[in-house]
């Protein structure tokens, strides 16, 4: 019975930087909701419908829509900063 040593081909997480979730903050009323449209067909309509539905639970002042140029690319740091400055609550989604 001969033994052989082989190396693990998978990613190993030793060097991965773990990040924790941002601190939850209390909502400031009235609420501005931002929707991140991933640019797939009907994404904007679906997420805006969800945001409109929140009017039953929150004093929503404004719903803003931010459309990405491609579903495959994340928003960049400037966009994230802009959305964080403008909105109290952000809805995004992943899908086809």
């Amino acid at each position: 019975m001969s033994l052989i040593t082989v190396l693990n081909p998978e990613y190993e997480e030793d060097n991965q930087r773990h990040v924790s979730m941002a601190t939850r903050r209390e909502l400031i009323e009235p609420v501005t909701i931002a929707v991140i449209d991933n640019s797939k067909p009907h994404a904007k309509e679906l997420l805006t419908y969800v945001a409109e539905g929140l009017r039953d639970y929150l004093p929503v002042d404004e719903i803003i829509v931010h459309s990405k140029p491609s579903a495959g690319k994340p928003i960049d740091a400037d966009e994230a900063e802009m959305l964080a400055a403008r909105a109290h609550l952000i809805i995004s989604g992943l899908g086809d």
Binding site: N8, P9, S70, G72
Partner: protein
Amino acid sequence: MPCFERNASVGSMATSLTLVESNVQEEFFTRGWTDGLPIIPPTPERINAMLITGGVEGDKVVGMVPERSRAISAEKAAINAVMAGCEPKHFPVVLAAINAMCDPAFGCNTVLTSTGGAALCVAISGPSLEDLGFNATRNALGPGHRANATVGRAMRLVAMNVLGARSDYLDGSSLGHPGKYTMLVAEEPPPEQWDPLRVELGFREEETTVTLLATEGPHQVSNQLNGTAEGILASLASAMTNPTTYGVGKGHQVLLVLGYEHRRILVESGWSKRAIQEHLVEASRVTPSYLEDAGIVMEHTTQNDMTPDADGKLATVRTPEDIFLITAGSPGAGWSAYIPTWAPTVHSEAVTKVVQFNTSGSNKSNEGAQ
């Protein structure tokens, strides 16, 4: 199940397993580490040979995909290249292709995740491909040549094992296609009137380059009886405008593999590569009604705004540079191949990198794999 060890004696950052040799294949299958085919066991000796020939230290990061919080070390690339069956002399090609895959323009995260199921198609152009064992002639897109088969396979194994592109994890392909096992096109030196792909893209004649495209499988383009350049170009344009190809009318890129007869006729008729590209940009423009007749619905989203241009048509490829012309294949009856990218350029663009061969044979850093 055998346990991982961190074994400094093998000089590795990766964990290792000690297995009964006859159990290796089943162990790798069970752990989901293969593409469904058997692998070469990645032993420390084989991996070290890869790294030495590649001229790169094992802990060097040779690519990153920030959206996945993943970095690819040279060692992990080498492990997967060994598993794919690569010879050490091909490792610099794998490193250059990984470098291309991790270029932000390629959109690796999307390419590997999309339901469209794209292949990592490597087009290699260089002055000594035959010496390296790449086949660019008979059966250029088919089986039978280790270099062609294993470099492409190494890319897929890296994607699966290091970047998590597996069916049970981050690969959302609805169907996928056989090119996802391996896909590499080697360029046959073109007729002397034409520049090879690497020169056309601005690289030097003596350099070897890899161009990585996220593609569908190859579509054979048959034209065996029409001996005119116009007839061949009409056939290519027709192939390029299949309305059910996702990028038609949306602005994607294509790799056109011009077979022996077709390129001979085009050259003898005085067509330059640039003239062919410009012609096909125009000839592949389509009207909305052409697509709608095939049941396609016009999209008006930020990623795909299918509002026609002033001529009432939509671009299938927007610029001549979006058509990559490569010559390959042996004399036959009259075949070429059309390989479209799986999605418009807003999602992914082809990326070309120079292969950095380690001429010293020593274990130094590989600048092309930054």
